[in-house]
């Protein structure tokens, strides 16, 4: 391979003889100042600024984020005859089962109940699936983590992003509902994607806290599976905020579950109104979401450094 030897060899030899033979010239220090600075090989955020840094990195790596989300979504509906239609069929089938269950348990629901369950399944699905996906986002990408460096926060972000996209597809189910139930088409339908986004953000904040821990101990992943299953029942999927409000103190306490806000927001959007919950419930839900996101980003920034060593 003689093609490379000459140039580099010569430089190196010259440099070495320089280093050994002569004293460092006095103006060397001045020259060094003009050099491009050496930077840490992996830029990592200090915990304090982690939330802002996270958004910046996602923006800088938007091409990567987009491609990873596409990979996730494509992979999910691979080799399926019905393909993307499953994003609609799956929640519809679940809603059917829950509707049937409800009729068996407590008799006559109002005629819109089946729709509310379906909305509940869709929005909860965004939260639940995002949460499981973020929890496993680092463990599942172990090989990539060992071979390529890009800001690790991209992994939970794409996990949530993919579920957000899928849920948006699921939410197309609203169109036939609007027609069948003859619901008003209003500007308030704008709240549908907002609600879904909110559910995703909650899952992201929560998931970022546990994803690095899951690398150390897989028990975290098993426990989170339980959290998602159990969360289903204490969230308004099979019930609505209105039902809970009629059930006394426990019912009112249940409204402080942060997931109540996004689900109710989407349901009310279909009714043609903006979210109609007590203001203290809305406020507490938004505060919890912000706190989850900020602490999630901070915890993640603190723990992700070490996480790769456990994979």
């Amino acid at each position: 391979m003689p093609l490379l030897t000459g140039k580099y060899r010569l430089e190196a030899i010259l440099r070495r003889s320089n280093d050994k033979g002569t004293m460092r010239p006095a103006n060397m220090t001045e020259l060094e100042h003009s050099e491009p600075p050496l930077q840490d090989v992996a830029k990592r955020a200090s915990s304090l600024f982690a939330p802002f840094w996270m958004f910046k990195e996602v923006f800088n790596h938007r091409f990567l984020v987009r491609n990873l989300i596409r990979r996730d979504v494509r992979g999910r509906y691979r080799n399926a005859m019905l393909g993307y239609a499953w994003a609609l069929i799956e929640p519809a089938l679940f809603a059917l089962v829950y509707w049937f269950l409800f009729i068996m348990l407590s008799g006559n629901p109002d005629e819109m109940y089946a729709v509310w369950v379906l909305i509940g399944v869709v929005v909860w699905g965004c939260f639940g699936k995002s949460l499981s996906a973020t929890t496993n986002s680092l463990v599942g990408n172990a090989r990539t983590m060992h071979l390529v460096y890009f800001p690790r926060v991209i992994f939970p972000i794409t996990a949530v992003g993919a579920n957000f996209v899928v849920t948006l597809m699921s939410s197309l189910v609203i169109i036939p509902i609007l027609m069948v139930y003859d619901l008003p088409i209003t500007m308030h339908l704008f709240w549908v994607p907002v609600g879904i986004f909110l559910a995703g953000i909650m899952a992201l904040g929560f998931g970022m806290m546990v994803a690095p821990l899951n690398c150390v101990q897989r028990d975290v992943g098993h426990f989170m599976r339980f959290v998602v299953r159990a969360g289903f029942f204490v969230s308004p999927v099979m019930w609505t905020a209105e039902m809970a409000a009629q059930r006394g103190a426990w019912g009112e306490a249940a409204l402080y579950n942060p997931v109540v806000l996004p689900i109710t927001m989407v349901r009310h959007a279909l009714e043609g109104k903006s979210v109609d919950l007590p203001p203290e419930v809305i406020l507490s839900s938004l505060i919890i979401t912000c706190v989850l996101l900020v602490t999630g980003a901070m915890v993640f920034a603190r723990l992700e450094r070490g996480a790769v060593k456990y994979l």
Binding site: P2, L4, V41, F63, T144
Partner: protein, 239 residues
């Protein structure tokens, strides 16, 4: 004048041996730690324009050292700094998706390696040409053979000119004919890159292209010297 391109100072790197949280807590309480030291007291300065080889026995820490430079493993002690964009050539095709076509995977893998959108769009045809996949480029990746995947991976990875190029053992992939081509391509990359660090077992190649060779042994730098000297020392260590 010689500019510093990569600088490692007092780098130590440990891997945890114990992952049981209860035991970890007990160890922390007793101020004890069970860990495996992968690298210790690494001091290294590589200058711009240099081609540096890393040799050592299996498990001596060559790849780990390279990954510290790439930013994958944050050092437990000391600092790792570099001037300019770093690209690590290792495990070609990391993150490939079985269910997307070759073309989509080329873009995906390119973005994983940190190529930006403009570069990928402008180089895509060149990448496809180089991979010699023909009509397979629009077939799903699950229909590819291992060699075809490797060819696509190499074509994407070699499409950029990073300021700092790190190569971990990937020098040639594919069949005999493609091997020659890929070797040539990588050497072309080496020639164009600002600084190159290369982990390899082919001493002949290292002797030909490297300015200096680092001999790593049991997580420490044993020697940094002219290729012949380092290789000689390697055989002495081998015994």
């Amino acid at each position: 004048m010689t500019k510093t391109s990569i600088k490692l100072e007092n780098v130590d790197l440990h891997f945890p041996k114990q992952r049981n949280a209860l035991v970890m807590f007990y160890d922390w309480f007793r101020k004890r730690s069970r860990r495996f030291t992968a690298l210790s007291e690494i001091n290294l300065e590589i200058y711009q324009g240099e081609i540096v080889g890393i040799i050592g026995r299996n498990g001596s820490g060559k790849s780990t050292l390279l990954r510290v430079i790439a930013g994958i493993y944050p050092p437990d002690n000391g600092t790792a700094k570099a001037a300019g964009e770093i690209s690590l050539l290792a495990g070609l095709g990391t993150g490939f998706s079985q269910h997307q076509t070759g073309r989509e995977n080329a873009i995906l893998y390119g973005s994983i390696l940190g190529h930006d959108e403009k570069v990928m769009n402008s180089k895509l045809e060149e990448i496809i040409d180089f991979s010699e996949l023909g009509h397979f480029i629009d077939e799903p990746l699950r229909t590819y053979s291992a060699g075809m995947k490797a060819r696509l991976g190499l074509a994407v990875a070699s499409a950029i000119k990073p300021e700092i190029l790190l190569i971990d053992e990937v020098l040639s992939v594919g069949d005999v004919k493609f091997k020659e081509k890929s070797k040539k391509k990588i050497l072309g990359m080496v020639e164009n890159a600002g600084t190159v660090v290369i982990v390899s077992h082919s001493f002949g190649l290292l002797t030909d292209i490297c300015d200096r060779v680092i001999l790593v042994d049991r997580g420490r730098i044993e020697l940094i010297d002219e290729p012949q000297q380092a290789i000689k020392r390697y055989y002495e260590l081998e015994g």
